[in-house]
Amino acid sequence: MSSKKLLVIGLLASIVIAGFLSFYASSQPDGLEKVSADQGLDVTAVDSANADSALADYGVAGVENERASAFLGGVIGVAITGLAGVGLYVWLREPKSAETK
């Protein structure tokens, strides 16, 4: 398989996971949240300064349909992470002159 094909398949899989499967993820508190609540560690917790931001909790503010909101949130997240990934690529790739091909 070419690395380009692997890249495309990986991106598509990520979009499916973040956009569609995420809707079916467990909404129970995660391990740390649960223990924090049970043991009283969360009494001092405060909302993050950006807790009311448009994309808080992986939804999109103003999109009423929960499924659409979760889909958009996931896909936007994949897109933003992908952009950061392009930045990583530029940083990590060896200088053109050093490439053998």
Binding site: S3, L6, L7, G10, L11, S14, I15, I17, A18, L21, S22, A25, S26, S27, Q28, P29, D30, G31, L32, K34, V35, S36, D38, Q39, G40, L41, D42, V43, T44, A45, V46, D47, S48, A49, N50, A51, S53, L55, A56, D57, Y58, G73, G74, G77, V78, I80, T81, A84, G85, V86, L88, Y89, W91, L92, R93, E94, P95, A98, T100, K101
Partner: protein, 229 residues
């Protein structure tokens, strides 16, 4: 595993932030221009995949869920230095864009989920490969074990940080046992997802798996390249 703001005091949060900044600076320096045009895109793909996979909370016990951290997975796929950058990107975007994990807690969250998991995952993977035969199935098994151990290790890091700077009064022993205990369960999910992912890439493009490169025979493409140069 994303800690909100307010749980741990400023000195410990800042201390963690300084540690993370140092680790990121060293990782940036170590990795600049270090990958070829085949392997460099993997870093971005691994970041995107871990971001997506972290959204899937799976049930682990009554009323409790867990999700992939991905540090061990990243370390095996792209090497520990690049993995630190990948995890910093993922946990950073989660906090800054999606308000998942506090802003003042960002240093601690990157330290636990993005650095402790990478270090422990890398070490456990290397140690396990020492005793296993150098085959693809061994690499998958070692990935699973590394991923499994990395999760309670991150949980233990949180317990230590909370011991140093926790804001609430609490029972340290109970918290230690319950936080590490539940993360042993979450570690099983981490091991399964990591093994499946590493297995899938090993089956198609083993040469793109950093952790596998020194254990498997070199691919034709790499030999050709070195002849040409």
């Amino acid at each position: 595993m994303h800690m909100p703001d307010g749980l741990i005091n400023a000195p410990v949060s800042i201390g963690a932030g300084v540690l993370v900044a140092g680790a990121v600076a060293v990782s940036l320096k170590k990795t600049k221009g270090s990958l070829d045009s085949q392997t460099a895109p993997m870093a971005g793909l691994v970041a995107v995949f871990i971001f997506a996979a972290q959204m899937i909370n799976f049930p682990v016990a009554a009323g409790t869920s867990g999700h992939l951290m991905g540090g061990a997975l990243a370390a095996i796929l792209v090497g520990p230095w690049v993995a630190v950058l990948v995890m910093t990107v993922v946990v950073g975007i989660q906090a800054l864009v999606f308000a998942d994990g506090g802003l003042s807690a960002l240093g601690i969250n990157i330290l636990n989920m993005g650095i402790v998991t990478v270090i422990v995952g890398t070490l456990v993977f290397a140690l396990t490969m020492k005793v296993l035969s150098k085959t693809k199935s061994s690499i998958v098994a070692a990935s699973a074990i590394a991923a499994f151990i990395s999760v309670p290790a991150a949980a233990l890091a949180f317990v230590i940080e909370y011991y140093l700077g926790g804001n609430a009064t609490y029972d340290p022993m109970t918290v230690l046992i319950s936080v590490v205990g539940v993360h042993l369960l979450i570690g099983i999910g981490e091991a399964i997802i990591t093994a499946l992912t590493v297995g899938a890439i090993l089956a198609t493009r083993a040469d793109l798996v950093d952790g596998a490169r020194k254990f498997l025979p070199k691919q034709k493409l790499i030999i050709k390249d070195s002849v040409v140069s």
